[in-house]
């Protein structure tokens, strides 16, 4: 861009277009003529805050002008582009404290995301340790080893308020303190990279984008609890992450940042990788430890907690990838900095994998306390195809659905629990008006009952029975009694299953039953038809549906209302798509 002094970027999104952005574009073109091609006018996509439109952005100054009118163009060109002064009256204005902002990074809209765990992802070459070091890598470890005692480290992590990001939400500093205080001839620090929720990939992204940040944090944790051995438990389905980890470990060893006498401190630390077979239950820490020991990946009762008796019966701290990714910034910037971000009892940020019926599917990292509405509608860009929002599932198969009524709930561990879901590891699946909540619950339950380790009765048999009832309902073979049974079983499994996975397995069912009882009742009363139907009022008899039906279950003469044979309909939806008159009624 050095040939141009500036780019003038004009939003040509629908709403800006509606408010004259075309005319503004023309005005700029006219205005800059004769400036020797120093400036270039561009149309761009929507900037996302359409209420302020039309919007004009000046690159590379990162200045936004809002509510621009064609008559403002001359002033912008003369004042800003030529003289380099900003046109104050058109600057974006933060409604709250009425401070005009110029650089887009500072605007409230963009501040919705704040990246601590993902700070280096996408900005460094994960296979190059020098790039990591350039972005302050290994400084935290150096500081810890040369200036701090293990007690200091535990204290700073404890004071920061960092809680486990794998879902449990246990205070990381406290976990480290317990392991530090537990006696043992050998101690272990483990990274849990057995990410297994359907639709969740936060940990994988961190490991693929910034592996050193996790290794460094493990060494810091090792120093804090008194472990000289770190073990990475990662599922074999993550080959790229494993490859990058291996490279990172080798580089760190070559640089003396892992191995013997790190930073001349006398502290030795090595890291080994153990591959898991990807069983969901192995994300549970006791099951994970058993799997590492070569045993069947099954949870055992806690207490004893791994901090007292874990891997090989020794004090062990198991922490999640994202938890580790927060450690180095806490060490470098201090516990106060970290605890100033986020909500009352949930400090810092959380990474979510935003997926489902949302426009901007992606990884987002937001401060705790951000509302679901902000994530879904502002960062996520709202629901696809302009459909209506119905619910969002957090906590994966262990969580529950959150409806419109709770969208303004600030996200933290406690508030999500209070509305029947949970933080979980960070999967966030958005559902729109077309999603059938009973089917959604069935999907999750199918996953958990399949992934159950089979050890305890409630999880092994109970989740299967719940799944069977859901199948019965959706096949329109159930009754109202089944709804009570579902509830009874769900509550019993929550109360009696051996591990956290079993205890949370009924959540998707219980929470959808709580918020969408009518959908369950429709199945139980068999009001729900499985087939599509035709609204005879609207049908003009064009035969479009008849021609696309793969099972030939639609009959009717031309220009007469058609009829679907409900017993033969396979609910494929082809007729619905084909009908141009909205005459097909969904099941």
């Amino acid at each position: 861009m050095s040939n141009y002094k500036a780019h003038i970027m004009i939003c040509s999104g629908t709403s800006c277009k509606a408010s004259e952005s075309e005319n503004i574009l023309e005005a700029f073109r006219e205005e800059i003529e004769g400036h020797d091609g120093k400036f270039k006018v561009l149309k761009t996509g929507c900037f996302g805050f359409c209420a302020q439109g039309p919007i004009v952005k000046i690159y590379p100054d990162n200045v936004y002008y809002v509510k621009v009118k064609p008559e403002d163009v001359k002033e912008i060109v003369e004042k800003h582009l030529i003289k380099g002064e900003k046109v104050e009256r058109l600057l974006y204005e933060d409604p709250k404290d009425r401070v005009k902002l110029v650089v887009h990074d500072e605007m409230e809209f963009y501040q919705k995301q704040y990246r601590i765990a993902l700070r280096n992802c996408g900005f460094i070459n994960p296979e190059n340790i020098e790039e990591y070091i350039a972005f302050s890598g290994y400084e935290a470890l150096g500081k810890v080893l040369t200036e701090m005692t293990p007690q200091d480290v535990v204290k700073i992590v404890k004071d920061s308020g960092l809680r486990g990001r794998g879902g449990g939400g246990f205070l990381t500093g406290l976990k480290w303190e317990l392991a530090m205080k537990s006696p043992g001839t050998e101690k272990y620090i483990i990274c849990n990279a057995d990410e297994g929720d359907p639709g969740a990939f936060m940990d994988r992204s961190i490991l693929e984008g910034d592996p050193h940040s996790v290794l460094e944090a493990m060494a810091i944790g090792g120093y804090a609890i008194g472990a000289n051995k770190g073990i990475f438990y990662i599922r074999a389905e993550y080959p790229l992450a494993i490859e990058r980890l291996k490279i990172a470990i080798r580089q760190a060893e070559n640089e003396g940042l892992l191995g013997k006498n790190i930073f001349n401190s006398g502290f030795d630390f090595t890291i080994e990788i153990k591959l898991g077979a990807g069983a969901f239950v192995c994300g549970e820490e006791t099951a994970l430890i058993h799997s590492m020991e070569g045993l069947r990946g099954e949870p055992t009762k806690k207490p004893p907690f791994p901090s007292e008796s874990g891997y090989k019966g020794m004090p062990t701290s198991v922490n999640n990838v994202e938890t580790y990714a927060n450690i180095c910034p806490i060490i470098l910037k201090g516990s106060k900095w970290f605890s100033s971000i986020g909500a009352e009892n949930s400090k810092g940020t959380k990474v979510f994998a935003l997926a489902g019926k949302v426009n901007n599917v992606g990884l987002v990292e937001v401060p705790m306390g951000t509302t679901l509405r902000e994530i879904i509608f502002e960062i996520g860009g709202g629901i696809t195809d302009g459909k209506k929002f119905k619910a969002v599932q957090t906590g994966g198969p262990s969580g529950g659905v959150i409806t419109e009524a709770d969208l303004d709930t600030p996200i933290d561990y406690e508030s999500l629990k209070a509305i029947g879901s949970m933080m979980g590891s960070g999967g966030m699946i958005v559902m729109d008006e077309d999603n059938d909540m009973v089917e959604i619950a069935k999907f999750y339950l199918d996953f958990t009952q399949d992934e159950s380790c089979g050890k305890c009765t409630p999880c092994r048999i109970g989740t299967k029975r719940m799944y069977e009832i859901l199948e019965r309902l959706t096949n329109l073979e159930g009754d109202m009694d089944d709804l009570q049974k579902l509830k009874d079983l769900g509550n019993m499994i929550k109360d009696t299953a051996l591990c956290g996975l079993g205890q949370t397995a009924p959540n998707p069912v219980l929470s959808t039953m709580r918020y969408f009882p009518q959908e369950y009742e429709a199945y139980a009363k068999r009001e729900k038809t499985k087939s599509y139907r035709i609204d005879a009022e609207k049908c003009i008899g064009c035969t479009a549906c008849i021609r696309v039906c793969p099972v030939n279950c639609i009959t009717g003469k031309v220009k007469e209302a058609h009829i679907i044979d409900e017993s033969a309909c396979i609910a494929c939806g082809a007729c619905f798509t084909a009908c141009k008159f909205g005459a097909i009624i969904k099941p």
Binding site: S452, G454, T457, P458, R460, T463, K464, E468, K494
Partner: protein, 580 residues
């Protein structure tokens, strides 16, 4: 140890730190049902997986119900075992188990012995609300010893604890996931194709009918009904102190006389005591030991009476097959003598003789079928029943065992000594061998035949017995895990023993896998052991080499102990086997 105070159902309880809620509740007369839990007290065997959830109780301040079998008490804990929430939780756990359980109680081998059945009755379950799909796996009847029915497996993992932790055989573990999970060998191999020793300890602790012995009762009935066959029977030492339990008698009742009488009533053509063969075994084994000591042979020598132990070392220590004694087990020696000497004496074609054994053991069934232990294409022992099967046969025949007048075994090959009886308990075989070896080596008479240093129930015991100038170092192990430790010491050159006795089952044959179910009550095993020693004390002759019938057998037929003919008939060899 510090004292913990807690409240259970409103009652104050004081217990030692480390006590579980279950044990604490017992103290105040509160029974909490259990299913997967198993604690073989005094044997150091505990299965505490907390998987069945039939014992869950409410603890104040806890989000979920907790398993009382494994949750340790804490100061000030408030426990409610009788709240609606606790009862519902426990009841639903059992209902769920029943919903995936074949309801064939009437024809199940464990009918009236089944702990799930008992629990269902205790909880008054009359209807199962959660009917649905049931597991449907084929039965494993591949082996001669046991039947595995995965559909009755409730994942209590007791068998796994016995197989892996106690016996260190490692054949059984949970396989598959979710609803399809059950306990079985890797890849659900047939049991016959695994390193299973058929010790039967899995069967001994299985709460349901998922693991039972192969039932040979019908075959024995058919043999008895056949007019062409000469059907004779032998009973092992450990049967007489256990079978009474099946007929309402006190544990530890000695029922040798009733046993002989019952066999006679069933119509066997000859009734014999395996004790005779035990004495014969001592003649051979003590000779072998003396031979090895005198000629600088391989030491220590290990006993070979226990077929589960034999199969264990064939699989696990195939490099050390020269260590065990080459003696056949008493069961097989008896069968061999029957089909040779007895047949000759009686003038019966050995092919017309059916030898039935009644054994406390499942491995004896597999042993009888080992190809190298057959002679001239004819089994030495044809049919093996466990104590339990024999008890069932008596019940079927309407024989009121406990009311029978005492009777004796047949006179030919009928005599036995106290040394033979103690084969039934851990330490007994080696004590019997020492009684004989002592007199043979020193040439002096042994005054006090009881070697108390060899007795007890600790898993591994050792003692030094002075035999003249020789200090004989003796090791004893029961339970295959303990045996493994001894063998590893031998392999590492750390062992100083001359002779070692090994029995696969905890307690020896009195705790065998074919004995009446103890249901976790280890006092029963202790009482059986006391009864064994009582029987020994009641015998006039207590040293095997004083058994006149045995001496006559050598004189008439075998010649010298450890001589040519006995080598041919009474000794065997071992086969290296795969580890899986």
């Amino acid at each position: 140890m510090s004292i913990i105070k807690l409240s259970i159902n409103g009652m104050e309880v004081e217990v030692q730190k480390g006590t579980t809620i279950l044990e604490a509740a017992k103290k105040v007369g509160v029974h909490i049902p259990t299913l997967c839990h198993l604690n073989l007290e005094g044997f150091g065997i505990v299965n505490q997986v907390a998987s069945c959830r039939a014992c869950v109780v409410e603890v104040e301040g806890r989000n979920t119900l907790v398993p009382s079998c494994s949750e340790k008490v804490t100061e000030g804990m408030v426990v409610k075992t009788d709240s609606a929430r606790s009862i519902t939780g426990r009841r639903m756990a059992v209902e769920l188990l029943l919903s995936n359980h074949p309801k064939e109680c009437l024809t199940c081998a464990k009918n009236l012995e089944c702990e799930l059945q008992a629990l269902s009755q205790d909880l008054g379950i009359r209807e199962i609300k959660w009917e649905g799909e049931k597991m449907d796996y084929p039965l494993d009847k591949s082996s001669f010893s046991l039947v595995k029915d995965p559909n009755k497996c409730i994942m209590c993992r007791r068998c796994e604890t016995m197989c892996n932790d106690v016996q260190t055989v490692g054949v059984l573990s949970a396989i598959n996931r979710g609803f399809d999970t059950f306990v079985g060998p890797a890849f659900n191999l047939d049991m016959d194709n695994t390193a299973c020793t058929f010790c039967g300890q899995c069967v001994a602790v299985c709460p349901t009918g998922a693991l039972t012995e192969t039932n040979d009762v019908g075959r024995v009935w058919r043999a008895l009904h056949s007019s062409e066959k000469h059907v004779i029977v032998q009973v092992a030492p450990a049967i007489r102190v256990a079978i009474g339990e099946m007929f309402g008698m006190e544990a530890g009742s000695v029922t040798t006389g009733q046993l002989a009488a019952s066999l006679r009533r069933l119509g066997f053509d000859g009734i014999f005591d395996t004790d005779f063969a035990a004495d014969l075994t001592i003649m051979e084994e003590a000779s072998e030991l003396v031979h090895r000591i005198k000629h600088g042979g391989r030491l220590p020598m290990l006993t070979s009476c226990c077929p589960a132990w034999v199969k264990f070392f064939e699989h696990q220590f195939p490099d050390m097959l020269d260590i065990p004694s080459s003696c056949k087990s008493p069961q097989i020696m008896m069968g061999t003598v029957m089909k040779t000497y007895y047949a000759e004496k009686k003038g019966i074609d050995p092919r017309d003789i059916v030898v039935v054994s009644i054994m406390p053991c499942l491995a004896k069934k597999a042993e009888a079928a080992r190809p190298e232990l057959t002679k001239d294409y004819n089994n030495n022992v044809d049919l093996v029943l466990t104590t339990r099967e024999y008890g069932a046969m008596l019940k079927e025949a309407g024989i009121l065992f406990n009311q029978l007048p005492e009777s004796d075994f047949d006179s030919l090959l009928g005599e036995s000594t106290g040394a033979a009886v103690i084969f039934g308990t851990t330490g007994g075989v080696i004590e019997a061998a020492v009684r004989t070896a002592y007199e043979w080596i020193t040439g002096e008479e042994l005054e006090n035949v009881e070697f108390h240093q060899l007795r007890g129930l600790e898993g591994i015991r050792e003692a030094t017995v002075n035999i003249g100038d020789l200090k004989l170092n003796i090791g004893i192990a029961h339970g295959l895990g303990n045996a493994r430790k001894m063998l590893e010491d031998i392999r590492d050159g750390k062992s100083q023993y001359h002779a070692i006795e090994i029995m696969a089952c905890p307690g020896g044959c009195i705790g065998g896998g074919g004995q009446p179910y103890h249901h976790g009550d280890m006092d029963i095993i202790r009482k059986r052991q006391e009864a064994i020693y009582k029987e020994d004390r009641s015998k006039v002759r207590r040293k095997s080499h004083e058994n006149t019938a045995v001496l006559k057998l050598y004189e008439d037929y075998l010649g010298e102990p450890y001589g040519h003919k006995s080598h041919e008939l009474l000794h065997t060899y071992y086969i290296p086997r795969e580890k899986i």
